[in-house]
Symmetry: C2
Subunit: 347 residues, 2 copies
Amino acid sequence: MSKRTTINDIARELGLTSASVSRALNDHPRISVDTKKSVQAKALEMNYRQNKLASSLRSGKSHTIGVIIPSAQINFFGSVVHGIQNMASVNGYTIILYQSEENQALEQKAIETFLDARVDGILVSISKETTDYSHFVELKKKKIPLVFFDRNNESLKIPSVVIDDFKGAYRATAHLIEMGYRNIMHVTGAPHLKAFKDRLNGYKAAMADYKMPYSEASIYNGNISIESGKEAVDYFLSLETKPDAIFAVEDFSALGVMQRLKELKIIIPKEFGVIGFANESFGEYISPSLSTVDQQTVEMGKKSFELLLEIIENGVDDTSEENIILEPVLYFRESSRRVKLNQMAKY
Amino acid sequence: MSKRTTINDIARELGLTSASVSRALNDHPRISVDTKKSVQAKALEMNYRQNKLASSLRSGKSHTIGVIIPSAQINFFGSVVHGIQNMASVNGYTIILYQSEENQALEQKAIETFLDARVDGILVSISKETTDYSHFVELKKKKIPLVFFDRNNESLKIPSVVIDDFKGAYRATAHLIEMGYRNIMHVTGAPHLKAFKDRLNGYKAAMADYKMPYSEASIYNGNISIESGKEAVDYFLSLETKPDAIFAVEDFSALGVMQRLKELKIIIPKEFGVIGFANESFGEYISPSLSTVDQQTVEMGKKSFELLLEIIENGVDDTSEENIILEPVLYFRESSRRVKLNQMAKY
DNA sequence: CTGTTAGCGCCTTCAC
DNA sequence: GTGAAGGCGCTAACAG
């Protein structure tokens, strides 16, 4: 590894001081245009590249942010990271990636690592297993810029970027109603998760607003799996008033619903409508393709970085806890396409 | 941001020198157990955390590696990154992630960024659009540890971790033959890509070894898309000798094949077998589920990091260019499951 | 076994 | 506008 040229090297060549070279390279206001020119030329000629380590150590700014996701294997988070990294790169920031594997200890270790690396800020999607939030409280106390995305904890009062689950569910339900389905039921997930609760409420609100009948019996408590989607169908069809459409809390449940309906020779979307949530990658490729609600993952990543950057630049302000709520987008595919195409000009 | 405690602080408290404190903290051999103990205790008490920036600057080792992938949105790469980050974390390394977006300029920018950050090594999956490899040659000249994964360029003679495409294709084809299909044809992809060429050759070799008939007419030149899978079916069924099974170069083509066959009311797998390559996430959820060849993505990530670490520790050795070739794994699902279950004890 | 000294490469006062 | 000097926090070389 041959020695890299430093500002001292180019200072010596030009009969200047490293200080002036530094200033020239950093576009310092009080530096003559001439020396700036010559320094820049020399730097190019000598293949000079700034040592970020030294610069960061001295200036206290690393232009690096830490990102914690549960797993890079999960599509959703890969997509968010895509947005984050893009935006970071555009703004001259570098990202350190860490996976919590839904494990609190790893999440804490990630934060230690980030702190040791002197990151300028941290982006986190909280691990599911995290119950002790002291590491986040600690960051807040240290005034380290921090933004949660997708999964957050409201009691911590930390800025966040999330999707509007209520609105997404409301629209999904309203969509089924507008497609002409009349008896719409809902497969929900673990009720202690805010996202699922919001989706349930969105469903209820839409049903109420459109004056459609529903009761507690119209809701099946699943566990976000293909299997529970199938079980939901069995349950619903055992009821006296049977549904003609199902809004599932997420796509895997919706997939299970579709699979059982197909087994029972019930035709989708003619006899029965289905819509999911999350826009998982398989939805587009199954048949009929699955209507769903997209969670704006890339946008979430971009907005998260932007919000973090704002906090990094303007400082952590205790008084304003900004929470960005993204608009979910309905993906209208075959599984809910009951009306004929010529009737659907408005879509 | 309250001041962090440094080794000087704890040295002062203990009446020692920062040098001794540093040694104690780094488990230096020539340090008394007593001072080591007391220093560690004090460090804990004072909430000391090492400043990696300073340490890296001084020691020349950053314990950071750079990772370039085409896009975090692509499942395959998310999965590889999962493996890389896991392994890195276990070994005390931190990863900086960069996406090339299949763009040569961004790839070069990523390498500059990594060099500026003084990474200890770099992991790359080359961008598709990269035609000028000088940035990699430069790394080699600078003796920066470098390992390619999945996509590499053999003429560069750089260590790599890839999947054995030939073997995967051979097995997929052999599997169809063993399932009783007799007239197996192949949908290939862009022929200039090594992976696709290898898969084509694996197909041919299996056909030859099993003495099955095939000709150039048995091969359809597609463009790795659902559409080209459909077109392939149309082409194959126009032939005099029609196929009863298709091995597609990757899953999207296989999906197109299945969709067209279904449109034509040809029953899979009873009348027609299909197998793809890549184990895309949708394959498990379509019906019938798609048999495919898994590319060992997580393993690829882990092995890539391990190989890079070895090079970092033992130095770049011009003479030995290690290339790790991973065994692909056949995922035997419904689309090729022709024989009855009771005949399949061996699977 | 521990202290002294020096400096990694950069930036930031403070002078002039 | 530029130079001199110092130091960010740490580790390495050399003493002793």
